[in-house]
């Protein structure tokens, strides 16, 4: 009889549900894909419902439901921090107590009531244990050091683990605790640079490549790195442990200069055009700050990875936690770090906690040995042909069913300079679009990036785009041996070589790097065929690939989402699982484009 374990995360950000059947992932999805609220933090009711329907079971068939963290331990941290920071925490305490006493503290009862499951089947993992399990048990390595780094879980902000093929499979070695957090320093700088915390960290990474780390020495004041690989923050610069909305103090502002206002123009030298000189100078200062923060984080991760190598040894490091989504830092770890193999959970943020919690129960609690193998990310919902055609008819979209000819037709469109919405098979697990819910374009024109940023995704002009490349054609990238697995999931930003910046300017960032996806035919056959055919037509088996969504929204999940995004943007054509869809007649819907 099959054992079903349902892992869930939520109530902070990135709620998700993952269903294991005898240890095999049969369904995994974030709640945001269903509710359309980016980073949706509610309990993942719709994601759970979908996971169960995907497996053809009811909640009564689920053997264990496991939540990704321990609520009472988290509450202990919040309460004791409020006490320890009295009286500065006077604004935080009422807000947090209101939220916890009213709702979050009674989690077991809420899970039982919401999901209609017997209380004896509800389990709780630890936040960092869930991350560590998602990294190690999903990796191809039978033994590895495991590093988790994020904002904070219950207490831990950075933790080291040893993953082995023998029980207990995952052994905790040490942790740095709240309020000392690498992830929160990066978030504080994210806020300082005018972006939303837990959303704008990618933008800081993108901004960094326009700058030089000339303020790197100032960041040395923020933390002391110990010889044992740990660190201690100077808390005079930070307020996340006592202020409800600000994460940096006036001391941080004094150190780094005035913060950037949200939405302020960003026009450093490379983007300046005829912008006023004051804007250019201020933008360059912000870019240099971002570059300095990025360099500091990379140094910090190398320092901690050194401790992982010293304590665990071996040649493989597995990582998870939000910090592990920093592709630039991952490249630095792979290039300069002590490990020959690096593996990062593709859903390294809190959504991945749902996967790790379920995997921990299967291996760590129920005692099944780990099975190392390739990890597939096509674990989300798919669509059916019949209802899709009905929908297209009802909404008045012109379409033609192309099926096997989809690859050739899409390549024709791409070569003709059209920007294509590509919706194929099951949705991706994790934040990256890897060829299932993607916006694709010919990378050979520099203007393509501008067009996709400003007229299709309506986002900042400085945001970079990633190339997806046939895995057998990676000559244009200077990949360290340790990062080949990262490139499979678009989790590293590697230097480019051989004039790629001239051949494909739309996907090479200003600093000459690219956050590539190495596409393997085994992983994504349809997408690989598309790249190969595009390569046959142009000599470049590579496409600009960005997630199929607009600014502030999660990637599309259903055909309706795809059509709505198509209609609101300047996309030229949409491929909906073998159906080529053109834009609707203008009289049907309002003019496209941002207001």
């Amino acid at each position: 009889m099959t054992t079903f374990v349902l892992g869930i995360s939520g109530l902070y950000h990135d709620a998700a549900a993952v269903l294991l059947a005898d240890g095999v992932v049969v369904a995994a999805a974030q709640e945001e894909r269903f509710t359309r609220l980016k980073h949706d933090a509610s309990l993942p009711v719709r994601a759970v419902t979908w996971c169960l329907s995907q497996a053809g079971i009811a909640m009564g068939d689920v053997d264990w439901l496991v939540f990704y963290e321990k609520p009472l331990r988290k509450f202990e941290r919040i309460l004791s921090t409020a006490v320890a920071t009295f009286p500065r925490s006077w604004r935080t305490f009422p807000r947090q107590m209101h939220a916890w006493l009213g709702d979050k503290l009674w989690l077991r009862a809420r899970l039982v009531q919401t999901f209609q499951i017997d209380a004896s089947r509800v389990l709780f993992s630890d936040h960092h244990r869930s991350h560590a399990a998602s990294a190690f048990f999903a990796s191809p390595h039978p033994s590895a050091a495991v590093l988790v780094a994020d904002g904070v879980g219950e207490w831990a902000t950075t933790s080291l683990w040893r993953g082995t093929a023998e029980p207990p499979y995952l052994e905790p070695l040490g942790e740095v605790r709240w309020p000392h957090s690498l992830g929160l320093v990066y978030s504080a700088i994210t806020a300082h640079l005018g972006f939303a915390v837990n959303e704008g960290e990618y933008k800081v990474m993108g901004m960094a490549s326009y700058g030089r780390p000339i303020y790197r020495d100032r960041f040395d004041k923020l933390a002391r790195f110990e010889p044992d690989g740990s660190f201690t923050l100077d808390l005079r610069y930070f307020s996340w442990h006592w202020h409800p909305t600000r994460s940096g103090t006036d001391a941080l502002t004094a150190l780094l200069g005035p913060p950037r206002a949200p939405g302020a123009p960003f026009v450093p030298g490379a983007l300046a055009g005829d912008a006023p000189r004051a804007w250019v100078d201020e933008s360059q200062r912000h870019a240099d700050l971002a570059a300095s923060c990025q360099a500091w984080l990379e140094d910090a991760l190398l320092h901690v990875a050194g401790a992982a190598a010293a304590q665990v040894g071996g040649d493989a490091l597995c990582m998870a936690g939000g910090v592990a989504l920093n592709a630039v830092a991952n490249h630095r770890l792979a290039a300069d770090g002590p490990f020959r193999h690096l593996w990062v959970q593709p859903a390294a943020g809190d959504a991945g906690g749902a996967l790790g919690a379920a995997m921990w129960v299967w291996h760590g609690v129920l005692g099944h040995p780990p099975t190392s193998g390739p990890f597939s990310i096509d674990l989300g919902p798919a669509i059916a042909r019949g209802p899709t055609l009905e929908l297209l008819d009802d909404l008045g979209f012109p379409y033609v069913t192309v099926d096997d000819a989809a690859t050739e037709r899409a390549v024709d469109d791409l070569v003709a300079g059209r920007v294509v919405g590509w919706f194929e098979g099951r949705a991706e697990w994790g934040p990256r679009a890897l060829g299932h819910r993607s916006i694709l374009a010919d990378p050979r024109g520099a203007e393509t990036a501008d067009r996709v940023n400003t007229r299709i995704k309506f986002r900042e002009a400085f945001r970079p785009f990633a190339p997806s490349v046939c895995a057998e054609s990676l000559d244009a990238f200077d990949l360290a041996p340790a990062e080949t697995e990262l490139a499979r999931y678009m989790l590293t930003a590697a230097p480019t070589t051989g004039g790629l910046a001239e051949d494909a300017p739309a996907v090479v960032h200003v600093d000459g790097t690219a956050r590539l996806q190495a596409v393997h035919a085994d992983d994504h056959p349809a997408f690989h065929a598309l790249l190969r055919t595009f390569g046959d037509a142009t000599g470049l088996p590579m496409l600009l690939n960005t997630s199929f969504n607009l600014k502030g929204e999660p990637p599309v999940c259903t055909a309706v989402d795809a059509l709505a995004t198509f209609t609101r943007s300047d996309l030229d054509v949409l491929y909906l699982d073998g159906v080529r869809v053109e834009r609707p007649p203008p009289h049907l819907y309002p003019p496209r484009g941002a207001p």
């Binding site: 320890a84 305490f93 009422p94 209101h98 080291l160 939303a196 959303e199 949200p262 909404l395 059509l563």
Partner: protein
């Protein structure tokens, strides 16, 4: 909308439109409401059994998204406000909308109830925006934007009323339909619950602040933040399953 409510909207608008910070808050709230409404309409496109209504719902969703963008841009143009909020708004993030307990507005109300809700909500919006438009706003661009949005909202009222009449029969008076009455009652109840919740939050905040000052303060003498550096992981001798059952 009754005269009393119109007077209320006029009075609150008089305050809101005068101060840039209040204008930004109000315009941001409109942007979130329109975005949430777009998601509700899109969910209806997916769920409705009435294939003839799908196109109208879809168009309505597109309108609402456009309005959300206009309001967001106007809010940003006020150039004031809390940096954390502004960062989220600049990113276009929406934190919540009509999904309750994992069910969309359409799933909870059904076709007729949903249409009635749309009719009532849009009619309220038309009257509210019309009152605001008659204010002498210090911000002419926002004034003009409200005028453009008002046209769309009027269309939304019109099509939802037509569909309700079609469902109820040609002699039906839309405002007397049980579904419309129920939608009005439901919105009034929601407003009341929201007010109650806000009052509860304020009162709870006062009590919790008192608790903080009186009960928490003495413990400050012994409480310390965790030091930096590696800490040993907590040891737990219980069997793994027992550990997993515990919330602590």
């Amino acid at each position: 909308m009754g005269r009393l409510r119109q007077a209320y909207v006029w009075a609150t608008g008089s305050v809101a439109w005068r101060f840039p910070a209040e204008r930004r808050r109000l315009l941001s709230a409109f942007a979130r409401a329109e975005h949430g409404s777009a998601l509700d309409m899109l969910a209806a496109v997916s769920t409705t059994q009435r294939r003839d209504l799908r196109r109208k719902y879809f168009r309505h969703a597109m309108d609402e998204w456009r309005h959300a963008g206009i309001f967001r841009a106007r809010a940003a143009a006020q150039g004031v406000g809390d940096a954390a909020d502004a960062g989220r708004e600049e990113a276009g993030l929406l934190l919540e909308h009509g999904i309750v307990g994992g069910r969309t507005l359409f799933e909870r109300l059904g076709e007729e109830g949903f249409l009635a809700f749309v009719y009532v909500a849009e009619a309220d919006a038309v009257e509210q925006f019309d009152v605001y438009r008659r204010h002498r706003m210090p911000d002419p661009d926002t004034h003009a934007a409200l005028g453009r949005i008002l046209k769309d909202e009027t269309f939304h009222v019109s099509y939802s009323r037509q569909e309700l009449v079609r469902m109820a029969g040609p002699d039906a008076a839309p405002d007397r339909l049980p579904a419309v009455r129920s939608a009005r009652w439901s919105r009034a109840k929601e407003g009341w619950l929201r007010l109650s919740r806000d009052i509860g939050t304020v009162v709870g905040g006062v009590w919790l602040s008192l608790l903080y000052a009186v009960v928490v303060a003495p413990f400050r003498l012994v409480a310390r933040l965790e030091p930096g550096g590696w800490q040993a992981p907590a040891t737990d001798a219980r069997p793994a399953l027992n550990q997993a059952r515990s919330e602590a």
